[in-house]
């Protein structure tokens, strides 16, 4: 899941080198922490949070396979 978000985020931003993804598992929840360059925050969030929403939908689908919950946190 980490790789998935990393791949998507690097494809969207202007500064792919600044993309960092952390994966933390708490009980049955997988928390993905995404850090990007400040200028790229808007790119991974998207208009009305659409991009973030779409990434979350993908995560939910992936996590659902192993009946886990997922959370995507975009770090500032």
């Amino acid at each position: 899941m980490k790789e998935l978000i990393h791949y998507i985020a690097t494809s969207l931003v202007d500064q792919p080198d600044a993309v960092q993804v952390n994966e933390v598992e708490q009980d049955d929840t997988i928390v993905i922490e995404l850090t990007v360059a400040k200028e790229d925050l808007g790119k991974v969030i998207g208009k009305q949070g659409r991009t973030a929403k779409a990434m979350r939908a993908l995560l939910t689908a992936v996590a659902g396979k192993s009946s886990k919950k997922s959370r995507l946190e975009i770090m500032e």
């Binding site: 494809s11 969207l12 998207g46 009305q48 779409a54 993908l58 689908a61 659902g64």
Partner: protein, 290 residues
């Protein structure tokens, strides 16, 4: 800049252009017009600012590219106020004068620029296929992907054993994937692509389902006159329902809500709050158009 460049002012862009035409004794088509400031009417006539233009006779050496852009900007601002002016312009504009029925216009934005026919090269297609495969593999849903081209829209067809997971509830995952891929690819290929994704025959069956649902609700509305609604549909899905109900004169459908996902109301025209709202909206549109 050449010596033939002159500046003109006017209370708005239209007037400034008119001034320019009069004093240079030329028609608007023969002028290169660069808008310096669009001016503002101020508040209660206070703080009024004139619109300023820089005008050159055509055939002079001035950067032609700048001109249509700035002129277009000015026009879009002005159309509401001076429609006559706008209609007099002869140059064809690419702008889609899209103010027709909301029901039809809703998802056309993804299909509107069909006028320019364009084929994508094989490197394009393989890039799309690669990207899609890569994301699917990272998601843990390895599948087969084939790319179909139809005019200038591209469909990525996903097949395999994981379709159910990829489509998700009501196609939410598939739509998200489609949205993200569009973004990623348009960044990578620095060109906008009309990409849509399909898994198995999900889109076709979804379309049928929605049409059926719409028609079923329409029947119920006709029977007892109560307004029915379908919750949270995305633009293309709403379009399907509106199209299915368009022919039926006994009922109307429209979208309500904010944001991407709106719900559809199916109702019987007649008295009632909803209809009066719709009427009011229509009147408003009529005013702004004429």
């Amino acid at each position: 800049m050449s010596s033939n460049t002159k500046e003109f002012q006017g209370k708005d862009i239209a007037e400034a252009i008119q001034n320019a035409c009069n004093s240079l004794n030329a028609s608007q088509e023969d002028l290169n017009i660069e808008v310096i400031s669009t001016g503002s009417s101020g508040i209660f006539g206070l703080c009024r600012q004139n619109a300023r233009l820089r005008v050159t006779l055509k055939g002079e050496n001035i950067s032609q590219e700048q001109q249509p852009v700035s002129e277009k900007k000015a026009r879009t601002k002005k159309t509401a106020k001076s429609p006559k002016k706008a209609s007099r312009k002869k140059k064809p504009r690419k702008e889609v004068t899209a103010e027709p029925k909301e029901t039809l216009a809703e998802n056309n934005n993804s299909e509107a620029p069909h006028s320019e026919h364009k084929e994508y090269g094989p490197e394009f297609v393989s890039a799309i296929q690669e990207e899609l495969l890569k994301v699917l593999q990272l998601m843990g849903f390895p599948s087969e992907v084939s790319i179909l081209q139809d005019g200038n829209s591209i469909t990525g067809l996903i097949q395999g054993d994981n379709i159910e997971g990829i489509v998700g509830h009501d196609g939410k995952v598939l739509d998200s994937l489609q949205y993200l891929l569009r973004k990623m690819l348009s960044k990578k290929l620095s060109e906008k692509i009309m990409l849509s994704l399909d898994a198995g025959n999900f889109r076709a069956s979804r379309m049928k389902d929605l049409e059926k649902l719409g028609l079923k609700l329409a029947e119920e509305v006709k029977e007892n006159g109560k307004t029915k609604s379908i919750p949270s549909l995305n633009p293309s899905e709403r379009r399907i329902v509106h199209m299915a109900l368009q022919e039926d004169k006994d009922i109307r459908s429209r979208s309500v809500g904010e944001g991407l996902f709106k719900k559809i109301l199916i109702y019987r025209p007649g008295k009632g709050k909803r209809n009066s709202q719709a009427k009011r909206r229509k009147n408003k549109q009529g005013q702004s158009a004429g």
